[in-house]
Subunit: 352 residues, 2 copies
């Protein structure tokens, strides 16, 4: 197959980790007989510097002419004092909305060789294997009115039935390919939008009689993610709850540095990015952990290009490298030697 | 001193744990020469059963004629299918709003003898000693419009400057009596209400030059509560974020069963209740852990009656009982013998 990939490297360690992912994708292309075209665009802080816009028109055009987007990371202290329209993260919010990337998928899985880095006790996290499905283009992130005066401020949480339906369907479909369980998280004892959310889940479940469904209040879910995270399979929730819970979940296994994410819409187009930030303090030193970016590339192959075998090959290679005891600085911990971004990426390529 | 306490036992284990707290308060009254009048009222599920109202007028009148309120717990499967106006938790929301109990204080402190029950590694939680200050009468819990149709639903997050000011002041005052640090949690990169929140914190800090201040985004705070909870002193945040983060924080030390809470307003009037729920499955069996209710009574002495010595005496007694290895079923874990609610309460009374 021939595919066009827009690469938005972004800020901090973004360029290093996306370069590693591209290198891996090139090896996959050769091994499985595909052609991937990589075209580069600006986003975030560096786009503000160059174009005075965290999501320039050129970048939108590039993504529109691509089959998927690979993103590094955005942000850094340099732009922290900027007015809100000229902040790196506005680029992220804008690209999600512009391309209607309503489904944010964030898998969290325990990696045996990394459990020592988990803040939780090993017996609690060792069986963790969940997928958080966060609604990404609705809710309080985009609802109107959203404004502020000297005296007060207001934000609006709105959901239409259709917006809820499509993300709930996504969660059910994913659960079918996994452990067959969906936990829907809401605050139905307080929010009207959560009551609608729960209603839609109750309707939709009829179409997926093979899937186990549970409802959990967001406060209770925040506890269970710590006390019994292995009980989850697919978690589906609205934008803001998803923001909080997915970040909470990202630290429980001790492997934040290697978590990938996908933000997709229904036709297969999607944006893939590591969960970690731009880590400006380690940028440019060859210290960055490229695992999350490489695993995001694997998700791209799976969800946008329908290349399951290729995706699994990357994931297996990454796993083997960890099991063989090769780590970048962030994870090396008490073990022997930390490998550079390049060395570590080459290990993955050797495994492929 | 002479004080009137409204006791709202509520559902499930509510009656047992409040009875234990009242017993302890009676001992404190004798020992320190106070007179406490206890008057009982209905709330939650049992109030729905008796009065068809989760917060009957009689209860409001009782609380209005009291100096503080001691609450057990509300809720249970019996009322789970009720329409939203006839659900136990509506009683809670209504009493908070009616009495303008805008400041919810939830301390979380590691108890050495209970760390084995923590899901987190001991070195991460052993130094934990934080106070979560949650805004309790504003935000998306009470904002209008809040409504739902077949096709869509909306909730509204509103804050006035005054609402933010008073809770932020509360946090600064508490930090002064503690470790001198305030972490304000918001989502200022997305929400207008959070921008106003952050602005108010920046203004208020000028009045507390001795206090260290940091801002944290809610997603990042959800991570830090797990990776480095000991770094927090006072956390101040809006209603919904506070709901999620305080529940998350409540499980990290393994001592959810003994966490107290206070919901107060500026004149000293307040409502005190355990963080745990009504646990209908163990109700009436003498198995309930009364520690959280007893420690809530201690908070009442401190914050509503200005009886610091008396409050500290209760806290010390509870601590000693734990250190001596006396636990109720929920916490007994692998240790020798589990004590009943009554036995355990009597141990605390002996210590007093
Ligand atoms: C940067 C920020 C706007 C963004 C969000 O809240 O969605 C980030 O936290 C994320 O989760 O991707
Ligand atoms: C019962 C519910 C409405 C309540 C809340 O969300 O405030 C509870 O979770 C709490 O934290 O006291």
């Amino acid at each position: 197959m021939e595919k066009r990939v827009a690469v938005l490297q972004g800020d901090g360690i973004g360029p290093e980790v996306t370069a590693a992912a591209v290198k891996v994708l090139e090896v996959v292309a050769r091994r499985f007989n595909h052609i991937f075209h990589f075209n580069y665009g600006s986003i975030g802080g560096e786009a503000i510097d160059q174009f005075n816009n965290p999501l320039p028109e050129e970048t939108i055009a590039l993504c529109e002419s691509s089959d998927a987007v690979l993103l590094g990371a955005v942000g850094g202290p340099k732009w922290d004092q900027n007015p809100s329209e000229l902040r790196p993260e506005k680029g992220l919010l804008a690209i999600r909305k512009h391309f209607d990337l309503f489904a944010n998928l964030r898998p969290v899985k325990a990696v045996p060789s990394l459990l020592q880095a988990s803040p939780l006790k090993e017996d609690i996290v060792q069986e963790v294997d969940m997928m958080i499905v966060r609604e990404l283009t609705g809710g309080i992130y985009f609802g109107q009115p959203s404004r502020k005066t000297e005296a007060s401020a207001v934000d609006t949480l709105v959901y239409t039935r259709e917006e809820i339906e499509r993300i709930v369907d996504k969660a059910f479909e994913l659960a079918r390919l996994r452990k067959g369980k969906v936990t829907s998280v809401d605050k139905a004892n307080v929010l009207e939008s959560s009551k609608l959310w729960r209603e839609v889940v109750e309707e939709k479940r009829k179409g997926y009689p093979d899937i186990e469904v549970e409802h959990q209040l967001v406060d209770s879910a925040a506890m269970k993610l710590i006390t019994n995270p292995a009980a989850f399979d697919v978690i589906v929730t609205e934008n803001m709850f998803g923001d909080i819970l997915s970040d909470e979940a990202s630290v429980i296994t001790g492997s934040l540095g290697l978590l990938p994410s996908a933000s997709v819409r229904s036709d297969g187009f999607g944006l893939y990015e590591p969960v970690h930030g731009s880590a400006p303090d380690v940028a440019g030193k060859g210290l960055a952990n490229p695992a999350a970016a490489i695993l995001s590339a694997a998700m791209m192959l799976r969800y946008s290009f329908d290349m399951e075998t290729e995706a699994a090959a990357i994931e297996e290679a990454v796993n083997t490298v960890f099991e063989d005891g090769y780590f970048t600085t962030d994870l090396a911990g008490r073990t022997d030697r930390a490998h550079s971004t390049k060395e570590w990426t080459d290990k993955v390529i050797d495994e492929l």
